[in-house]
Amino acid sequence: MATSPQPAPLPSRKRPGISRRLLICATASALLATAAGCGSATNSQGGAASDGLITLSMHNPDSKTQDPATYELVQEFNAAHPDMKIKLEGQPVEQHEQRMTIAAQSDTLPEIFWVYDSLAKTMVKDGDLLDLTPILDEDNLKTKFAPSMLAGFQADGTQYGVPYQALITGFYVNKDILGEHGIALPKTFDELLAAVKKLKAAGVVPIAQGANNSSFSVWAFLTMLDRFGYEEKYPAILSGRVRYDNADFLRLYRHVRELAEAGAFPANMSTQTYAQAVASYMAGKAAFLDAGVWEAAKIQKSKVGRSTDFWAGPTFSDGVGEQKIVMNVPSAPFVVSAKVKKDKKKYAAVKAFIQFYYSDAGQKILVDNAQPPVTTYKPDVDTASDPVFAAVLAAAAKPGWKSPEAQPDLVVSAATASAMYDSFYGVMGGSLSPEEAVRSVEKTIK
């Protein structure tokens, strides 16, 4: 610089203007190029002629091991339909929900996908989902479902979803552990509380629960909400006529505190994940496990398989209404992108897949993989080879017991559902009093 023969010329007044214009032009070009790039990606997905290839996007990254029923169904479908093909993909639940949200924003939803009902309801309002009524009407497919299995996935006369799997939830119970301590399988809350105290005194973890990144794992407690009148109350709660922090729900949360104070839950419940809670139960380290039918196959193969029974949960002497309630409801739905309608081949492939999934052959694949059928198909389960799955199905079909139409968290917004999970775990862990817990849920209801 010092040896430069001539000093740098002073810039004229015009030059900064040129620079600014240059920058603006370059910025605008880049933005246009990006916008064009986004646009073309969307267009090519929406408008290109297809070859009958559709994508089924699920809530787990490895369906082959994590959801073998769906994996096998897809393999069978692809083998039976050489002119169509389903590509199965997935991510863990949270990432999957994020991805579907972003895909809805950018109009790049996969053809069929699993999604939580709260997000599906938002998508249907926005016109992102296909009305499945014509597909269900064809060949009387609709008659294969119990009305309650489809009722939860309707909005403004649109059948926007079909049940992915049935959700039977409750407690898995290790009969050997109970037997060792002279405890009979409890039926009422008082019996459960007594069992918890006895188990705790003997150094056994009574109920395996894991909240770390899995606060949703409170299924048995959501069923208990229904034993305090949730199903009758929730429409009024959502419309603001009744509060969530009502005296009935508060009684339930006080019972949960009683369980917590009796030492029902593991000390590391907050740092343990749901998967670790399941592992601790399967290792014979806990007497009860709060879970659902999806764990039946795994538990069956574990060392506690032979000693496991399934229980719908305790009845309450101070509950509200029907106490003989077992949660046997449709889980989150399969939904179809509205764009599928524009492509005949894709539409045909989606229709064929839905018809295959809910056919008796499709439902048999579910049952063979220890998943309950979602249609009226009557499964033939061998209690000798599949004792845990048989126990779950028996609990779900117990005479005199009935199911609510939907699981409590599936009929509210994601924010309220999340607050419900936190409210139970908060009381279980002693971070929230029952009063604070019900209030925290009430605050999320708009």
């Binding site: 610089m1 030059r15 990144n213 994601a414």
Partner: protein, 291 residues
């Protein structure tokens, strides 16, 4: 050289970087700011809701908990991480046998992904299966503190794990700074009878002022990005008592699908982070001018 100094050519040279910066930094910030004034749910059309999200934030106890927890981590990082990192660098810069291996050992956690660091520390801090409580039990201490997963200690434990993870990085910067110091100044001080402590206090620390400034800025900005550690160690629990600002923002945006509120939290994280970083840089500049 002359070509480079004209404004036109200068503008041309910086344009690509400015474009990329605008697209990937400025645009998302403005985008977040816009959505923070709406009730966006991630899918439906947005409705302008004014300052509702910010009012909601002011009344949200979990937000204040997350802010306090971020402050705890920042405080521990400033009070312990920087002094400890410096002291270790001083110790290892001396003629210590095996100091190279020790430096590598101390630096090792910094190259492990934070999510793995979290998983490793679960096995150490977990109240039931963790090594710390097992050790306490072995030496006859009956108490089983809830290092993580309890309502009190979680943020401190997270801060400690962050310290463990970052100390090698901080040490390395200080070590490089110490190695750059002119040896003759220290030798002269030694000949004049200055003790090791006096050399440290009156020569090394003043000459490393710029390094301290850089480390402080890096630590402050780093604290506002802590996420994976919380995610792996506690998931923000129990009931959000160990959330930091970023993890709470993630929970609100992606778990509860309140994108509008989540963007308002993102804006506040950005503003608080920018203010803290700005204050650090300003302090550094002031000290530079004074020296």
């Amino acid at each position: 050289m002359n070509w480079l100094t004209t404004r036109r050519h200068f503008a041309l040279m910086i344009a690509p970087a400015l474009l990329i910066y605008s697209l990937y930094m400025i645009y998302p910030i403005l985008y977040s700011l816009y959505y923070s004034f709406t009730d966006y749910d991630g899918v439906s059309a947005t409705t302008f809701s004014g300052l509702d999200n910010y009012r909601h934030m002011a009344a949200d106890p979990v937000f204040w908990t997350s802010l306090r927890n971020t402050g705890v981590i920042l405080g521990i990082a400033l009070l312990l991480l920087i002094p400890l990192g410096f002291l270790l660098a001083v110790l290892l810069s001396g003629r210590v046998r095996g100091s190279g291996a020790l430096r590598a050992l101390v630096f090792a956690p910094a190259i492990v992904a934070p999510i793995l660091v979290g998983l490793i520390w679960i096995f150490i801090l977990d109240p039931q299966i963790g090594l710390v409580n097992a050790f306490l039990l072995a030496i006859g201490v009956p108490a089983h503190p809830q290092w993580i997963g309890g309502p009190t200690l979680s943020p401190y434990s997270i801060a400690f794990v962050y310290l463990w993870q970052q100390i090698g990085f901080v040490l390395t910067i200080f070590y490089a700074g110490i190695r750059m110091l002119p040896r003759d100044v220290l030798e002269a001080a030694g000949l004049d009878g200055a003790t090791r402590l006096q050399q440290l206090r009156y020569i090394q620390i003043p000459m490393l002022r710029e390094t301290f400034g850089i480390v402080t800025a890096l630590v402050v900005t780093g604290v506002f990005k802590v996420f994976e550690l919380v995610f792996a160690l506690t998931g923000g629990g129990p009931v959000h008592l160990s959330e930091v600002m970023v993890s709470y923002m993630y929970h609100i945006t992606f778990t509860t699908q309140q994108y509008g509120y989540g963007m308002a939290l993102a804006v506040v994280v950005f503003v608080v982070g920018a203010l803290a970083s700005g204050a650090t840089f300003l302090g550094n500049r002031r000290r530079e001018k004074q020296s």
